[in-house]
């Protein structure tokens, strides 16, 4: 199979923008590379060795994985794997890729739709379904997993604790947040304190919709999430979530240093998925969400109708960037004190990532 153009020559702080029509690289605000031409990019991750893993979803040929442009096998379901609706599980989309951390240099994790977690111990040459999660009672017996915006539940966030690479968090829409302390063998629900206001019982064991979940890179007990039902924060590794507000949205960004600092991009509500008040706005907190200030200088002031998807918002030091569903990309080099428009001509932005 063919090898797309190599990604070995990336330098510092380039921005990868995964769109529904290809992968575009920006450097110093300028487009410098176009790869995976015309292909729908669904996930990006820079591996610990600097290589770039990319997932695509092709309407004709299915979901595929690549590392530095070279194809690697995609995970597959077996014939005895049934979805929550009882149908045969067939890979529909790869939503998230991450690596195993320093302890497991050849390990990769992938989150998929239907909602499953796969692990590879050989950099993607072979994949294994994480049975402890697939067979979790909340999914099998209690039927607390269901689709949200998709027909089937899907796993869109995977966190590998940088201090303990056997500690994994995954997020399912809809089911909620799960944590494994043994590299995926066993899983605990981490949904305490969250709400599921779209269910008759808004406080079930599972059935929550965490749109995006992030772990603070050094204060590893601090987690933030943008949920369907609002913004939440945990100070004890997800054992208890504290509701900050009920603002709808899909993405969240957190500061690498200050564990009390985060940014969100509000969406009107679940039935009007347009920017809140039709204005593309970034809100910023430095006090765990007690107060929010506007951090939108430089963003359009006229009505705006597209939103930022989960994984469409990225931060690395003072650099921040986000991409919208109508193909605009905005970037800040001063931690959102001011934004610059770097493109208004892309296709739908699915995924954004800063790379070295």
């Amino acid at each position: 199979m063919t090898k797309f153009s190599s990604s070995k020559h990336y330098q510092v702080d380039k921005l990868l923008v995964g769109t529904s029509k290809g992968l575009i690289t920006f450097h110093n605000g300028k487009e410098v590379r176009f790869e995976y031409e015309g292909l729908n990019i669904t996930a990006i991750h820079q591996l610990t060795n600097g290589e770039i893993a990319v997932a695509i979803n092709h309407k004709h040929w299915g979901s595929k994985l690549f590392i530095n442009g070279a194809p690697i096998p995609a995970p597959t379901f077996q014939k005895n794997h049934k979805t929550v609706t009882g149908s045969q599980a067939i890979l529909k989309q790869i939503w998230f890729i991450t690596d195993g951390g320093e302890k497991y240099p050849d390990r990769l994790w992938v989150g998929t739709e239907p909602g499953a977690l796969f692990i590879s111990e050989d950099r993607g040459q072979h994949w294994h379904l994480i049975n402890g999660l697939w067979n979790h009672p909340s999914r099998i017996s209690h039927q607390q997993w269901f689709g949200a915006g998709k027909d089937l539940p899907f796993i869109h966030s995977i966190i590998v604790d940088p201090n303990n690479n056997d500690c994994i968090y995954i997020s399912v829409s809809c089911a909620g947040i799960f944590r494994s302390m043994d590299s995926g063998k066993t899983w605990d629900l981490m949904n305490e304190g969250m709400k599921a206001k779209y269910l008759p019982n808004p406080k079930p064991e599972a059935g929550y919709d965490p749109h995006q979940v992030l772990m603070h890179p050094t204060h590893n007990h601090v987690l933030w999430q943008q949920n369907h039902c609002g913004v939440y924060r945990s100070e004890n590794g997800g054992k208890q979530w504290i509701e900050i507000n009920d603002q709808y949205g899909f993405c969240i960004s957190i500061d690498e240093h200050n564990p009390e600092e985060a940014w969100i991009i509000p969406v009107e509500n679940e039935t009007s998925r347009i920017p809140k008040d039709r204005l593309l706005r970034v809100l910023h907190t430095q006090d765990c969400g007690k107060s929010w200030n506007d951090a939108s200088s430089g963003l359009p002031n006229e009505p705006f109708y597209s939103i930022v998807l989960r994984n469409g918002f990225a931060k690395k030091g003072d650099l921040m960037a986000f991409g919208t569903t109508n193909g605009n990309v905005y970037m800040s080099n001063d931690k959102a004190n001011s934004w610059q428009e770097i493109s208004t001509n892309l296709a739908k932005v699915n995924y954004i990532s800063f790379i070295k």
Binding site: M1, H60, W61, K64, T76, L91
Partner: protein, 86 residues
């Protein structure tokens, strides 16, 4: 021998792709030989349950075919993607 022709849309993933000849009694076994010649091709044409992907069309001559359709000497198999926009 049976000739198997491929849509040019697959060449971006398999740059050496060209029409090949196989010996097979049905479409399914023909595709097994396609996989031998072009490893990985099977996952492009079929899902993990070994069903043809919904937007992949296979023809024997001018007739649309299924994986179960029998083929005989001098038949020609054409592998195309369905037309779809977006």
């Amino acid at each position: 021998m049976i000739k198997v022709h491929f849509t040019s849309a697959l060449k971006r993933f398999f740059p050496n792709l060209q029409t090949i000849e196989v010996e097979a009694s049905d479409v399914s076994t023909a595709l097994l030989q396609v996989e031998e010649k072009y490893p990985g091709m099977k996952s492009y044409l079929m899902d993990e349950t070994e069903q043809l992907r919904p937007h992949v069309n296979i023809f024997i001559g001018e007739d649309i075919a299924t994986l179960e359709n029998e083929v005989s000497a001098n038949d020609e198999i054409f592998i195309f993607q369905a037309l779809s926009g977006g």
